[in-house]
Amino acid sequence: MKKNPYGLFGLRRLLPQLRSYRTPLVLMLLTSALGSIVDIGVPLFQRYALNHFVALGTLDSFPLFLILYLAVILGSAGLNYISCIYGMKIEVGVDMDLRNAAFSHLQTLSFSYYNQNSVGYIHARVMSDTSRIGELCSWTLLNAVWQGCYLIGAILVMLLTNARLALPVIAILPVTALIFSLFQRRLTQVNREIREVNSRITGNFNEGITGARTIKSLVIEDRMEKDFTADTEDMRRKSIRAARLRGLFSSTMHFASSMALALVLWKGGYIAASQIGTFSMFMSYAQGMMEPVRWIVDAVGGLITTQVNIERLCTLLDTKPEVLDRPEVLERYGDTFHPKRENWETLIGDIEFQDVSFRYPDGEETVLEHFSLKIPFGTCLAIVGETGAGKSTLANLICRFYEPTDGRVLIDGRDARERSQLWLHSSIGYVLQAPQLFSGTIRENLLYGNPEATPEQIDRALELVSARDFVDRLEQGLDTDVGEGGDLLSTGEKQLLCFARAILCDPRILILDEATASVDTITEQKIQSAIDTVIRGITSVVIAHRLSTVRNADWILHMEDGRIVEQGTHEQLMAARGGYWRLYTRQYEDEITLDALG
């Protein structure tokens, strides 16, 4: 197995997070061990009842017997109650703490991390790895201790009562454990395969439903069905294989118990004549011992599988952000979570690229080489080019989502690294191609960038983006719930709100990243006219797929394959009759035609 860089089961790395659970953990294990020890006592009562009352035919100590027996039942239940409560506390508490730690750390990680890992992957680290670890720290541990104590206790009692009878019974245990662990490993493997097929089947359903029109047009229903059936058949076969393993697993356990019982009968039948109670006790232990073995094997298996979760979570927590504020900057400006706003200078909005070279951390090609450009306060810079031409790179550098490999980006004449990220970000408005809202009401979303905005400001922003009408038409107006990711609204409506949100934070720098690319023409016009008003008096970077806004920009960069191929004003570039001219005429033609068609 791969060596774990995080020490003992990887848990050591998480110790700081787990430290506060030391007391509950100790109490849980203690009560669980005690509960188990008390539970071992139950067969002793059967033994006594038989050896004493039945064999001797007397009831002399009966009341005491009854009281003790009841005490054992209640005591064991009470101890189990306490350990359960602690187990629960630890589980949900560890879950919560680890989730918070992971989430909080993610807020500081740089964009390169997000580009290298899919949302699904990161999400699983926050939600499922943590809960696996929580389960390991609570129930897996609790069970292992309970069952382990039971097993040891039972072995001791048997050895003390009758060693000759006990030894052969005990000898069955290691063999059973060995067989269990063999099955366990294979079962884990098959279960993983089953999960994979399962996600394939879900993907199939997804495709069959979202692609319904294409499937019908192509008349490939039969083919899709055939492929689907192959996957479900695979699922069926793998599940049956898993069932075979499970069957072998439980059969082994049953057989081991029966073996133990048979041994007790064969070797111990003679004691039944004189000491039927001891015989009965042996029967109980012999049969009850296999269950703990199974649990312990399960716990070990669980620990091994959880290993992966622990490692992944630790890797996440140990990932260092690539864009970091320097200690002296943190000192003066405060960190992401504790800003010192009183020390912040007002941001004006002068941007300058000074001899900037840049390569994405996960990329091989240098996308900017010795690039210099002044974007004085109030300028509108437009960046055009085909999808995938790298138009967002400059915006990423301005926002300091990435830092130049070489050279400097100056904000208001000072290196961006001399001030904190939050200082910069607090003055930036950003609108993306895919509108991104958060669950909550319209108002909450609008206030996202500026929680202090007044109702008048909200009104003005809505007015500006022509979103008044649709918000007013909603029954609950601003208090309408937008659903997860804003999905209860149409794409156009969402984009209008995103734009209003950006305006509301009163940005000094506004970045429009293909803000109109995925909306309908009417919304586009609304946004377009708002843009013209809003960008007056602030610095703006317009990344455009459609070119009508670009015309009025102060400076235009045309990018192809991640490089800047042309730059200049609209007039200069049109006169040059190069790539920009071609791009522009084609788009202009499309736009004006669609306009004429209505």
């Binding site: 918070n100 807020q107 964009f111 359903f205 039944a272 029967m283 930036i428 669950s439 001219w581």
Partner: protein, 608 residues
């Protein structure tokens, strides 16, 4: 027949259909669980005989016949030792039987449930593929997928775990009851006394706690959604500097969710502990009364031991039973949700199901159409496209051009009084739908590609297409060069983990996919919008060269594209505003002329 009987009948028919192929294994699993229970119950009997008869010397007359014969076989010297050895062997034999039965139970129950689930999934998928397009438009994708995945999963758990376990437990209970009654009715009564209490207690507890569990699940969903939104919206979070707010929001929901569970800790722990006490009391009752009975000579110690074994055996199954019954209602809800899909009628050919050789003459004869009760999107549209010619369509959003091609592809059907569409003189109503669609190649503006390789995507309609044919089609669509530039060429996977194709590349893949089918009718629904002008021209000329004989419908708003069409239709708000050739229309004084003027004057205007 009223609605509920119809529903019930449908349910029964659906279940019967689903059960095909798995019924036998369900029966086998039940048989196996009877055998397994019997083996469980016989083992203590063997011990009882050993203790009471062999060791305890009880009269042989009270023995069951099989045991008497068995013990008689070991008569002779060292009788007791030999008899015990014999009984031990019998015990192992029973254990072997138990092991086989247990294994058989596990495998046959899974085989039954998995086969059933497979049938269910297959039927559901097949049904979904054959539901009318209108149905798909009408229902939310998320909801359908939810039904196809989680609801099926719930049903599977019910079938593979709850139902089979329930049957197994009931069998075990009934059999052990009869064994116990056979030994001593009074002690049976005492030992079984707590059983109904335990079952009812667990049932009511889980019924009540069910809502709290649901509440926890919902809160977990909310928490998960916050994380999801934060991760997908990372740009916004950072650009607006809202990390702190996000963290607070996550932590608040995290605490809320954790609190919900913490509130459950006490009731759950209490439930388990009280369960422990009840089970403990059941055994205590048996221990105490058994001992008393033995003491008074009413019972033999072996019988007493057997009773104890039976009680231990029953403890867990009995404690699980209540929960299982409480959880069963979930499966019913899921079944209803799946039924709702299965009950929707599939696409059906209403007409004569003809399969004529299609040459490609298309006639729209006074076609009007509205989606359900909405306003008309097409009004009295009539035109004719002679076979082998090209029709260009110019129209804005909402002009009805997309509806037009959907009607031709029978994705929506015209009803009586809405006019007719004829191909080669045959009303498409009377043409078998699959035959019709196979004759029409359609490329959409935003094409849907499957998460398979590029080659598989191009050849999706027919697995037999050769690589040569695939490349030829790709060449015609100006895609070959691009694809050969990918590291894995045609075996590049389209989709999430593979390469993200640009809009233009997707369109060209879709064009190649359509071309490889060599259909007599081709429709390009704004499908060259994302490729540049040069590629657009190249694709069109290669189309003309290779597929000259096909009837083509070309929807576009580029005059350069439209001008090559034999005839052009200008659609405006569901009606034909103009029709004619490019030469005729460009001077007709209508919308077309205006657009022509705009687009031809552009070079100069833009350069100003």
């Amino acid at each position: 027949m009223n609605r509920s009987t119809a529903d019930t009948l449908f349910n029964r028919r659906m279940l019967r259909d689903f059960l095909r192929g798995s019924r036998l294994f369900f029966l086998l699993s039940m048989l196996a669980s009877v055998l397994s229970a019997l083996a469980d119950l016989v083992a203590p009997q063997i011990v009882r005989i050993a203790v009471d008869h062999v060791i305890g010397g009880a009269p042989a007359e009270q023995l069951p016949a099989w045991a008497a014969r068995l013990l008689a076989a070991a008569q002779g010297q060292g009788t007791m030792q030999r008899q015990i050895a014999l009984l031990t062997a019998a015990l192992l034999l029973v254990a072997l039987g138990k092991v086989l039965a247990q294994y058989g139970y596990e495998v046959s129950k899974t085989r039954a449930a998995e086969t059933l689930v497979k049938t269910m999934r297959d039927r559901l998928f097949s049904h979904l593929e054959r539901l009318p397009y209108a149905w798909h438009m009408h229902n939310s994708t998320g909801d359908i997928i939810q039904r196809c995945t989680s609801d099926i999963e719930t049903l599977k758990n019910f079938l593979a775990e709850q139902m089979t376990n329930l049957i197994r437990i009931v069998i075990l209970l009934l059999l052990s009851l009869s064994f116990m009654l056979g030994m001593d009715p009074r002690l049976t009564l005492i030992a079984m006394l707590p059983v109904p209490v335990i079952i009812l207690y667990s049932f009511f507890f889980h019924r009540r706690i069910g809502e709290a569990f649901l509440d926890c699940d919902e809160n977990e969903g909310l928490l998960s959604a916050i994380a999801q939104e934060n991760l997908t919206g990372v740009r916004i979070v950072r650009a607006f500097g809202r990390e702190r707010y996000e963290q607070d929001r996550f932590e608040a929901q995290n605490s809320l969710y954790t609190d919900k569970w913490m509130k459950l800790a006490r009731p759950l722990a209490a439930f388990w502990s009280i369960g422990d006490v009840l089970s403990g009391l059941q055994i205590l009752l048996t221990v105490v009364f058994g001992a008393l009975f033995c003491l008074r000579g009413r019972m033999r110690p072996g019988t007493y031991l057997a009773f104890l074994s039976y009680c231990a055996m029953m403890t867990w199954p009995v404690r699980m039973l209540g929960r299982m019954i409480a959880d069963m209602s979930k499966a019913g809800i899921s079944l209803d949700r799946i039924r709702a899909i299965m009950q929707a009628p599939e696409e059906e050919d209403a007409g004569q199901r003809l399969t004529p050789q299609i040459r490609g003459e298309i006639v729209f004869d006074h076609v009007s159409f509205a989606y359900e009760d909405n306003a008309e999107v097409l009004h009295d549209v009539s035109f004719r496209i002679p076979a082998g010619t090209t029709l260009g369509i110019l129209g804005g959003t909402g002009s009805g051009k997309s509806t037009l091609v959907m009607l031709l592809d029978k994705l929506y059907e015209l009803s009586e009084g809405q006019g007719q569409i004829r191909i080669d003189g045959v009303n498409i109503r009377d043409i078998r739908t699959d035959h019709l669609r196979r004759s029409i190649g359609m490329v959409l503006q935003e094409p849907f590609l499957f998460s398979r390789t590029i080659a598989e995507n191009i050849a999706i309609h027919d697995g037999e297409v050769s690589r040569g044919q695939i490349r030829e089609a790709a060449r015609a669509a100006c895609l070959d060069e691009t694809v050969m530039g990918f590291a894995k060429g045609y075996d590049t996977l389209v989709g999430e983990r593979g390469l993200t194709l640009s809009g233009g590349q997707k369109q060209r893949t879709a064009i190649a996919r359509t071309l490889v089918q060599r259909t007599p009718i081709l429709i390009f629904d704004d499908s060259l919008s994302a490729v540049d002008t040069e590629t657009d021209a190249k694709i069109r000329s290669s189309l003309e060269a290779r597929f000259g004989s096909a009837t083509v419908i070309l929807i576009s708003h580029r005059i350069t594209t439209l001008s090559k069409a034999d005839r052009i239709l200008v659609l405006d708000h569901g009606q034909i505003a103009e029709q004619g050739s490019h030469e005729e229309l460009k001077t007709a004084g209508g919308l077309y002329q205006r657009i022509c003027a705009i687009q031809s004057g552009l070079g100069e205007e833009a350069a100003e």
